[in-house]
């Protein structure tokens, strides 16, 4: 595969930085330019050889780039797209690492209408509790799933290029449409986070909350781990994927009503099969390497 001549990271953090490191190791990129708001983070990114050049000027940075990777929170992507739009080479590929896709697709359509042949949305299913350039690591994408949600307008060779680059990072690339992506991740990630926040708030509302927390043990620890997640990030994800999340929350409300009815009725066999269905599926998923 021909190496990239110039890769621009808009946001030189965990996602973009780890992408750059993997491509550098695979000798698939000549120069990496990092753009970010924090000078300290850009300095650190250079020290750690995550990027070769740092700048705070996104518009200037993308001139002559053959690939631009948006690695910021989704909330910052629109403004960045607007800034870079007039300066992109006509063949420059633009991709991103956003964890929601319908909203990013809408941003591409709004801000980069003339670039759509080369805007290939992506979502690498990998992360860390850490963020920033210092968290970027070789191997973050090794064996991890990368979902790409190509646009109908995409040039097949741009899709192929993005796919090949992620595969060079060790990722396993899946294609899906953006709406299915958002439904799947509402289900397996966004809604579990929101349910964990809600459960935690229900505990805090109790008269004896402190005593409860005092006696909480390993089941509680695992069930609520994701309730410790970053508030602004999860506010943004919630707002970005609001429709899919609401549909799923309604499904979960119906499910909760069903559970309450089962406990009220207290019919042992019905309760056993209800629990058994969940338990079997979870055990099977665990054994499948999930």
């Amino acid at each position: 595969m021909k190496p990239l001549n110039k890769l621009v990271l808009l946001g030189a953090g965990l996602i973009g930085g780890s992408f750059a490191l993997a491509l550098k190791r695979a000798r698939l990129v000549r120069e990496v330019v990092g753009v970010g708001r924090s000078l300290a983070n850009l300095e650190r990114a250079i020290e750690l050889k995550v990027i070769d050049v740092a700048t705070q000027d996104a518009a200037a940075a993308v001139v002559g780039a053959d690939l631009v990777m948006l690695g910021t929170p989704v909330g910052q992507m629109g403004a960045l797209m607007e800034k870079i739009a007039p300066h992109l080479d006509s063949a420059c590929i633009v991709t991103d690492g956003g964890s929601t896709k319908q909203d990013v697709v809408a941003l591409y359509r709004h801000h980069l209408p003339r670039q759509l042949a080369h805007c290939v949305p992506a979502h690498p299913i990998a992360g860390s509790d850490l963020s920033g350039a210092a968290a970027a690591q070789y191997g973050l994408y090794e064996g991890r799933r990368i979902v790409i949600t190509p646009l109908p307008e995409n040039a097949p060779e741009s899709i192929a290029r993005v796919r090949a680059l992620w595969e060079a990072c060790g990722g396993i690339v899946h294609e899906m449409d953006a709406a299915e992506h958002d439904g799947v991740f509402a289900c397996v990630s966004h809604v579990p986070h929101l349910l964990a926040f809600a459960y935690m708030n229900a505990v805090l509302d109790r008269r004896n909350a402190a005593r409860c927390l005092d006696f909480a043990a390993s089941g509680f620890r695992d069930f609520t781990r994701i309730a410790g997640s970053h508030p602004e990030m999860w506010r943004d994800i919630t707002l970005a994927n609001r429709e899919a999340i609401l549909a799923d929350l309604h499904t979960n409300r119906v499910q909760l009503e069903r559970l309450i009815a089962l406990v009220e009725t207290a019919e042992p066999a019905a309760l056993t099969s209800y629990i058994e269905r969940a338990s079997k599926a979870r055990s099977k998923w665990g054994k499948s390497g999930g």
Copy 2:
């Protein structure tokens, strides 16, 4: 402390077996008699020196015992109490390791009305995915919380004796009344399990359940780990602690309505403070060594 002369384990599994091992190591018991339904498990318990004598006859076993520990699932305790009632020494202490307490208290009152001065209900907050005598281990209770829920009828010296034995096992003993115990554990253990089962069933009801499970990652893994728990055990706990669980499920339903309203309204500041409250509390709990 004076050692026990004869400790009888009704159920020679993880809970009773680990209690016996700890007391043996502390030289606080002369003879341990194990009673169980599975001959293979009793044989294994003898091989592993968890017990010294095995029998399937609970009534004969308790003759001359100074402490009887009910280490079976709560569902088997009533029948065992009925069997041993006529054979207990008048000063014999009876305790248990049941994870619900109001129902066990009711069983003591029903089956052992003349022994109530010495029936001291307990719940060691320790466990393992494994069960049976082979899972019994030294140190299971080291640094773990042990809740005892004494009866008003209890002789102070019987409470003190049970407390001292658990402390000798390395446990940290807390006293609570049985109703508070059941409320606290509905909140921090039983309801999280049921919510995890319900969430898993909501996923399975989706048209694209297989695809969702295929893309589920670490957040899903932790949130649903307890959904893989043992169906009969959790059916029994649910039925045993039904009132407290129902109260808590209703609280969680109200909380879910509130979350849905927040996502529907999509007011960023309100959503942030909602998430922040949960996230701060969870992080604080995690740092406190929870």
